[in-house]
Amino acid sequence: MQSGAIGASFYLPAMQTEDLDIFVFLPASSGPLVTLGPVYDALKTHGGEIEGAYVRFGKWPVQILTDANALIAEAIREAVGTDYDGVPTRVFTAKHLCGIALHTGRAKDFARVMLFIEENEVEIGALSALAARFGLSDRLARVLPSADGGSK
């Protein structure tokens, strides 16, 4: 009998297949279509293969996304340097990942924010300040622990 994540995956798409998001700044759009042509061209020179709206590197599909709102733009600007298996890279801060999840607002996004909070991977004060600036305080209140230990 299958249960848990594998059991659920018999009914729902697997939740943790490869899903790598790369965010890029683009000039403010002035026409009806946003084009990532120059970005795709650059990625092709590094071995990327364009398939639909994503780029494949080996077996990894990579989703290219844009700074569609001020929260994402701030997240890109304030991304922190780290490394992936020795390769320098940049990643959104925990508070920005949580803010974007709150903005997206699906059940699994709220669950992800709760996990960040439960694992003490995000500083509540910083996240609250970000949520207040971007009009997300009501959504954050839904996942903050209440005085009795549960979520509100």
């Binding site: 995956s9 798409p13 697997a14 943790q16 297949t17 490869e18 899903d19 683009l26 403010a28 759009s29 026409g31 009806p32 279509l33 946003v34 990532l36 398939e51 639909g52 709206a53 994503y54 077996k59 990894w60 599909p61 989703q63 290219i64 996304l65 844009t66 700074d67 569609a68 709102n69 001020a70 922190v80 340097g81 780290t82 490394d83 992936y84 298996d85 320098p88 890279t89 990643v91 207040a132 600036r133 971007f134 009009g135």
Partner: protein, 66 residues
């Protein structure tokens, strides 16, 4: 909170939606063996990412450039 903070670029938002839809379609098209391989790669990638972040935090705590 200003209007500028809440400003959304409709065209970029539409682009992001197309990109995500394309990725969802791709993921749904995978066979079960491919999905299992994908989850295994994702788990290994998550392990490497957490190791990288742990090194970064240690270096910051020791005030070392990385």
């Amino acid at each position: 909170m200003t209007d500028d903070v809440l400003k959304i670029d409709a065209e970029k938002t539409a682009f992001n939606a197309r990109s995500k839809a394309s990725m969802r379609a791709y993921l749904k098209s995978r066979t079960w063996p491919e999905k299992i391989e994908s989850i295994e790669r994702m788990n290994e990638a998550a392990r490497l990412a957490r190791e990288g972040m742990r090194r970064t935090r240690m270096a910051r705590a020791e005030n070392i450039d990385v």
